[in-house]
């Protein structure tokens, strides 16, 4: 069964890049441009994993992680933050929010696929 990944980023090009890499790897990908839209899509579709940017308008990635974790359906779904933020403090905040993993941009497509295969 094809797994569905929700890719969240306010940058269209980044979203398309993540989507292209993951589709080539055999995943279904749905895309959201911020946390608010991601929440809507996550409750509309069944999503097996979420890959999200942090710095986005309206709702940032950490808030999205916290809200998803509060939902029964997403309490254990893998959520990876894909962001330019790389400080230990931010990673710690990500863990506290409930993120499964952290990946720094610019990302290596092969590493992204490997991570998805590991967690999904």
């Amino acid at each position: 069964m094809t797994r569905t990944i929700l890719a969240v980023d306010d940058s269209t090009s980044m979203r398309q890049m993540v989507g292209h890499v993951l589709r080539e790897a055999g995943y279904d990908v749905i895309e959201a441009s911020d946390g608010d839209e991601a929440l809507e899509l996550a409750t509309k579709h069944h999503v097996d994993a979420v890959i999200t940017d942090h710095n986005m308008p309206r709702m940032d990635g950490l808030s999205l992680v916290r809200l998803l974790r509060a939902m029964d359906d997403y309490a254990r779904t893998p959520i990876v933050l894909l962001t330019t933020e790389s400080s230990d403090e931010m990673k710690q905040r990500g863990r506290e929010a409930g993120a499964t993993g952290w990946m720094v941009k610019p990302f290596d497509p092969m590493r992204l696929i490997e991570m998805c295969r590991r967690i999904v």
Partner: protein, 157 residues
Amino acid sequence: MLTRTTDGTSLMSSRDPALGPKLRAALYLVTGRQTVGEMLNLAGGLAHVLEEQLRTLLEMRLVVVVDRPDGASPNDEPLPVAAARIQLLKRIETSGADVAAPAARIRAARSLAELAEHARAAAIAIQQALGRSAAEEFWTHARAILLHWQQRDGARA
């Protein structure tokens, strides 16, 4: 605390498009384990939007108010007070000032009037810690928060 009704659970499970995406997302958040204040806290800057959605879900009878398992009754607290408290505490956090005492009094406040009083005290404490500019910035935001929720509270009454 809120919990889903049978109709709410049914609509959520079927991912019924009739509900609309934003209300459906709000319905997913109602698990019966978190207080309204905790949910609004999670929503951060979108707390006022979530509050409106929860109110709509209540009116649609897709969620209902229940007592907390520990016997406390947070439902006695109006949503504007809970939301204003969260936003004020976030503003204090954003200021970077270590003003534990006023923050604790804001946490304990039970009305918008009490929140206003303690927010003013927080502004003075921020001025002492970080200077006038930081205090004025905090107070500008605090006043806007309090006025916003006061107007909403008044409109509801």
